[in-house]
C-alpha cells in the first residue's frame, strides 16, 4: 500500500511569508507525528496527534507554528511569518498507535528554504 505522503517535496519562500506543509498518513494509522530535521541534527519532535485526543504540542518551537489534523487523517503544519532559522526538512510519520512498539513510518519530508 501507499506510504506516508508529504507535499510539497520542496518549498522556497521569502522571509515573513506563511507556509503550509501537508502530510497524508498511511490509511488506518491513528498516530501522526511531525518532526523537524536541521542539517547535521537529529529529529526534533514538533507535535503528535493520536486519534481524537488533544494533540501533544509540547515540541512546537514558537507560536508561529501550528498544526491541524482533519478527520483523523490528513495533517497540515503551518508556519507563520517564516524566519531563516525555520529552514529545515520537515518530516511526518504515522503509526498504527501512539505507543513505542508500533513502528513509525516516515514520509520523505518537505525541504523548506527561507530566503
Amino acid at each position: 500500500g501507499a506510504g506516508v505522503s508529504q507535499s510539497p517535496s520542496n518549498k522556497v519562500t521569502e522571509k515573513g511569508k506563511d507556509v503550509e506543509l501537508r502530510c497524508d498518513p498511511i490509511s488506518g494509522h491513528t498516530a501522526l507525528y511531525w518532526y523537524r530535521q536541521s542539517l547535521g541534527q537529529g529529529l526534533e519532535f514538533l507535535i503528535y496527534f493520536q486519534g481524537n485526543s488533544a494533540p501533544d504540542k509540547s515540541g512546537l518551537p514558537s507560536d508561529r507554528f501550528s498544526a491541524e489534523r482533519t478527520g483523523g487523517s490528513v495533517s497540515t503544519l503551518t508556519i507563520q511569518r517564516t524566519q531563516q532559522e525555520d529552514s529545515a526538512v520537515y518530516l511526518c510519520a504515522s503509526s498504527l498507535a501512539g505507543k513505542g512498539l508500533q513502528p513509525q513510518h516516515f514520509g520523505d519530508g518537505t525541504r523548506l528554504s527561507i530566503l
Binding site: 547535521g40 537529529g42 529529529l43 518530516l91 505507543k99 513505542g100 512498539l101 513502528p103 516516515f106 520523505d108
Partner: protein, 112 residues
Amino acid sequence: QQQVKQSPQSLIVQKGGISIINCAYENTAFDYFPWYQQFPGKGPALLIAIRPDVSEKKEGRFTISFNKSAKQFSLHIMDSQPGDSATYFCAATPWTGNQFYFGTGTSLTVIP
C-alpha cells in the same frame, strides 16, 4: 538537552568490516530503542528495535547490543556493504509516552 547522545558523528568503514554506532541515555523511563536508517532525500526507515528485557537482538547483518545498567545501546553492522552507506539514528521512548527522542545521527560511508 540532548536526551539521547549518539557517536560517532561520522564513520568510514571498509567493505566487509564491522560498523559500530553507540548511543547513551539518562532517562530510565525509556524502554523502547529503535534504530533508523536514512538515505539522502528520503525519510528515516525503521531498521531494528529492542526493548530492555533482552541484551541483544539480531536481524540479518544488523545487531543491537543493549546494556541496561550502563544505559547504553549500540548498532553493529556486520560485513558492511557500500549499500549500507546512509545516516543512522538511534532513538528512545518511554512505553507510555508519545515522544521519540532521537540521537543526532551517524553518517556511515562504506568504501568498496
